[in-house]
């Protein structure tokens, strides 16, 4: 089932076209890594898909009403903004906002869900702590938990694992992969090609003002495409521990 359908999407910022004619579909079960060099327009592409930016072409999300969209997709912006020292539990519970009528307290079923995602992200010890005073990595996990609590079929995240230590990067990628395996779709921009190669089911390579490649990780992270898009050489192979991608040199 297609959860996001994008056709001929194009964005122009300050008279400069960022990308044009971008088309793709996201299906249930997919964990898509959006990769590309700095400035390729990964953030812009996701924001345009969400209808947060004026754009040419169509995105099935930007056609939805605000309320419908909030029940269809959860979005994690790259800037980890937590304005007030609100407890982690309250931050995560904000994810339930689109599902509740105004002014209603959190129903028991929603509380169970909130507790479950807090545990899933390993935040039990932090639940009563002020989220704005946690370390960057802990904040990132609290915000991932918030997005999961929104309980939408589609999850989009802008570099959610940037700034996490290796253990939390891997476990977060595993959480996203599990969510996809449960029948949802996840799309995230990511700079770590090694983690992308290992955990994503599909990669979309955004470069040169459009989609340069779209497919299984081994088909996208080819020597030719990696050299062309990123200007690097890399080693990419199958090992007994699964696929490994290691950037080597700048070309």
């Amino acid at each position: 089932m297609s959860l996001l359908s994008v056709q001929n999407l194009g964005v122009t910022l300050r008279q400069r076209p960022v990308f044009r004619d971008v088309s793709f579909d996201l299906h249930a079960g997919e964990f898509v890594g959006l990769i590309g060099p700095n400035g390729a327009g990964k953030t812009t592409l996701m924001r345009a898909c969400l209808g947060l930016l004026p754009h040419a072409g169509q995105s099935s999300l930007s056609a939805l009403s605000l309320a419908e969209r909030a029940r269809t997709v959860a979005w994690m912006p790259q800037a980890r903004e937590i304005a007030w020292p609100v407890s982690v539990e309250r931050i995560v519970a904000l994810g339930r906002l689109p599902h509740l009528p105004a002014g209603q307290a959190l129903p028991p079923a929603d509380k169970v869900l909130v507790d479950a995602v807090i545990s899933r992200l390993g935040l039990d010890a932090f639940r009563d702590r002020a989220a704005s005073r946690l370390s960057g990595g802990e904040q990132a996990r609290a915000l991932i938990a918030r997005a999961l609590a929104q309980d939408t079929p589609l999850l989009m995240a802008d570099e959610p694992i940037a700034g996490l230590d290796p253990a939390h990067q891997i476990s977060t990628m595993q959480v996203f992969r599990q969510i996809a395996d449960d029948g949802r779709a996840v799309m995230m921009s990511i700079h770590d090609l090694g983690l992308a190669a290992r955990h994503c089911t599909r990669l979309i390579l955004l470069a040169e003002g459009g989609i340069l490649a779209d497919g299984a990780p081994q088909d996208v992270l080819t020597a030719a495409l990696v050299a062309r898009a990123f200007g690097i050489t890399a080693w990419h192979g199958d090992t007994p521990d699964g696929p490994v991608f290691q950037p080597l040199e700048v070309v």
Binding site: R69, P77, E81, A83, W84, V86, S87, I91, A102, A130
Partner: protein, 326 residues
């Protein structure tokens, strides 16, 4: 809810206390009885026409400013925001100053407040035009600062060119803010504006909570930012316009009260709205009681006291929380 209840009890106590204080020395019980019992004659008149409106206005003005301050801080995600930031109090003051200068003030007791309200209306119109319907919060702040500066300059110009030293004196005193010698007419004038503003701000609570995570995240949680901004600006403008019209410029309430109460409500913007409204009422009531007790014969101005209490309190808070501030 416990905090709100406790604050409410304090506020009610202060309301009763406020009724028993005045230049006419009367036993407290007598003055309270006279409020309902017309057989007290002149004392009933004092209670119903002087002390009651003053006590009601203290609650109205304080609650309005506390609420608007909490809403403004929540919307701008900045603990230094205050209701005057969008330029409405400055433009309302300009309207009042023009009324004093042109003598409209003397013609009718409603001349000054109505002129202040007209000033507030022009101010909010200019801010919304300048900031545009879709701009971010930064454009709103900048537009507010520009309007405040312009209104301040024009107010200075009026003072500067004032041929009448008494009018100039009157203006300076009015701008300090006071609740002395107000009547029920002033209550009826401010009440609808504060009530409408409060109702409008009440529906922003959900949006303010979502904004804790930034504008993009709030929007994808189903919050219409355009609508939120409109509600917030008009709600704040109604409250600030209404309160400035009857009480003059009373500073620091909308800045300090949300700041003090934030840690007590778990920093949730929606809950802070109501706690802050009651807290604001308490602060203005305390200040207005202090004004009458400290220097009763010198007509100490309310706005001076709130600033004198508020500024050091604020400095203390900044000192205490500076590690958390970005």
């Amino acid at each position: 809810m416990r905090l709100e209840l406790a604050l409410f009890i304090v506020m009610s106590g202060l309301f009763v206390l406020s009724l028993t204080i005045g230049p006419v020395a009367v036993p407290a019980m007598d003055s309270l009885r006279a409020l309902f019992d017309t057989s007290y004659g002149a004392l009933t008149l004092v209670m119903q026409e002087i002390r009651l409106p003053r006590a009601i206005l203290a609650i109205l003005v304080g609650a309005g400013l506390g609420l608007a301050g909490a809403a403004m801080q929540g919307y701008l995600r900045n603990p230094l925001a205050e209701p005057g930031l969008i330029g409405v109090s400055g433009s309302a003051a300009l309207g009042a100053v023009l009324a004093i200068q042109t003598g409209m003030f003397a013609a009718s007791s409603l001349g000054l407040p109505l002129s202040a309200l007209a000033g507030a209306l022009v101010g909010v119109f200019l801010v919304m035009t300048l900031a545009g319907p879709r701009g971010g919060s930064l454009t709103l702040i900048l537009a507010g600062i520009a309007i405040s500066a312009l209104a301040g300059a024009l107010t200075s110009l009026v003072l500067n060119l004032s041929p009448n030293p008494f009018a100039a004196n009157e203006i300076v005193f009015w701008m300090m803010g006071s609740l002395a010698d107000r009547s029920m007419t002033h209550v009826w004038l401010a009440l609808p504006f504060v009530l409408i503003g409060a109702c409008v701000i009440a529906i922003t609570g959900r949006g303010l909570d979502a904004l804790t995570l930034g504008e993009d995240a709030a929007q994808t949680m189903g919050i219409n930012l355009f609508r939120l901004r409109l509600l917030l600006v008009f709600g704040t403008a109604a409250i600030v316009g209404g309160t400035t019209a009857v009480a003059g410029a009373i500073g620091f309430v909308g800045l300090v009260v949300p700041h003090i109460l934030r840690p007590l409500v778990g920093a949730r913007p929606s809950r802070l709205l109501w706690a802050s409204a009651i807290g604001g009422a308490i602060m203005v009531q305390v200040a207005d009681i202090a004004v009458r007790l400290i220097l009763p014969e010198r007509d100490l101005k309310l706005g001076v006291v709130t600033a004198l209490v508020g500024a050091p309190l604020f400095l203390h808070l900044i000192y205490k929380t500076r590690k958390d501030l970005p």
